[in-house]
């Protein structure tokens, strides 16, 4: 017990208890992500104008991430790319979550439905993730729509398994049987007894899906199967800057890559800390 207390009251967060600390972390990281999205949306086209007078500049106070071979400010390009990544991630993981809920609920309908959905999950998991995204993306005509659909249609497997297992486990609980014996209908039991257990799982699953979706979108774009080159995207920035790395323009890849990593880690942190808040019993795991 004493060691736990000591670790809580150390460093920047001294003076806060664990709950306040968790809330603070969630607040800060959400604010960071929100700021990225809002600023990327509010930047207009003109902020990315080409200026060949200032091309390939080193990072400086004026251009914190440097400039590229067309004189564009890399900081703004990175922000725009991250913003669109987050938005695509949000959209794709929302669709994936809806798919996961529908399939998870369907699997509790009967034995045939259950084995079909398990088979479907296994099928999707047996194909390498990125390959499947690229296939679906090409199948839907590539570009932004292609990659969004590709990411959305491949990230539901994990959450479907969680929802299915959770429902299975809940259905054997004594209080569910008792509720039925007290004359409650199936619908009543599903909404009042089962749903409250599922909501935290679904919320967490969605947030933890974000980093995957963002990274997969960036990878597909990096490989040239995603967003088109004129759109601001981290994948595009990274693949373009590969050509300039050997020329010593390290900042072209370094800062955008680092920013992507920070965004992904921020989502992970939000997810984990929300998990701690919603299920304090499992916080130690």
């Amino acid at each position: 017990m004493s060691t736990a207390v000591v670790t809580v009251n150390k460093g920047v967060f001294s003076g806060f208890n664990l709950r306040q600390k968790t809330l603070l972390i969630i607040g800060f990281t959400s604010l960071l992500l929100l700021a990225i999205v809002i600023s990327s949306v509010s930047f207009g086209e003109e902020s990315l104008h080409t200026n060949f007078g200032s091309k390939n500049l080193n990072p400086s106070p004026e251009h914190p991430f440097g400039t590229d071979w067309m004189g564009r400010d890399m900081f703004i390009r990175t922000l725009e790319g991250l913003g669109s990544s987050i938005l695509i991630g949000a959209f794709a993981s929302t669709i994936s979550t809806i798919l996961a809920i529908v399939l998870g609920l369907l699997s509790s309908a009967g034995k045939i439905a259950d084995s079909f959905i398990s088979w479907l999950v296994d099928l999707f998991l047996s194909i390498p993730h990125l390959l499947l995204i690229i296939l679906i993306s090409i199948g839907f005509g590539g570009g932004a729509t292609g990659v969004i659909i590709g990411v959305a249609l491949t990230h539901w497997t994990g959450l479907t398994r969680v929802v299915r297992a959770e429902i299975k486990q809940l259905k054997t609980q004594e209080y569910i049987h008792i509720s039925r014996n007290l004359g409650k209908s199936k619908w009543w039991i599903a909404t009042k007894h089962i749903l409250p257990h599922l909501i935290p799982q679904i919320l967490l699953g969605t947030i933890l899906m974000f980093p995957h979706a963002i990274l997969h979108e960036a990878s597909a774009t990096f490989l040239g199967f995603g967003l088109s080159p004129h759109e601001p995207a981290i994948g595009i920035i990274l693949s373009e800057s590969m050509k300039y790395l050997s020329a010593g323009y390290w900042w072209l890849a370094f800062f955008p890559g680092l920013s992507l990593l920070i965004v992904v880690l921020a989502f992970d942190m939000i997810g984990e800390n929300l998990g701690k808040l919603m299920d304090p019993k499992n916080a130690h795991e």
């Binding site: 008792i178 014996n181 007290l182 209908s185």
Partner: protein
Amino acid sequence: MCLKGENISFGYKKNNLILNNVNISVDRGEVLGLIGDSGSGKSTLCKILAGYENDHKGNVSIDGKEIPSKGYNPVQLVFQHPEKAVNPKWKMKDILNEGHIVPQNILDSFGIKKSWLNRWPNELSGGELQRFALARALSPETKFLIADEITTMVDAITQAQIWSIVLDIVKELNIGVLVVSHEKKLIKRLCHDVVYLDDLNNA
């Protein structure tokens, strides 16, 4: 009015019957004790009588009529582990009133305090939770109560308290009770009549 289980056979595996041709009946207002060793199928018989287990052979009926599978079941089962019988995401007042609004006099006789109603299940002890489970099951619509080792996890004093309350309410509502236990002394104190599962069971 009489709850009857006739020719009940059940096995969790094929060719391995736990219950074979068991006949049992409880009258309304009667308190019947059922004694059996661990693993003899007591709980399984309880689940069959209360309609929790439907893959059995034989009939369960009240006055010759089958118990409808929908709606309030007049046969209510209370389990050994009350912490499993409550939804951990519900407040105690919702758990208590899930079947019917439990009247204040029953709360008083069980000693359920008002301050408990706003708590979560994990903030109450096993004995306290079991009072809620019993109050929830003892509605005016309940005709038979099956008590499957309901006081095994509490101390002797609480055991005596809970049973005296239950027997009072049961008498008032004219409910038939099947008391299941492996404690012969307890059953002899509580029940009008005692049956041994080994005598009923041909498995």
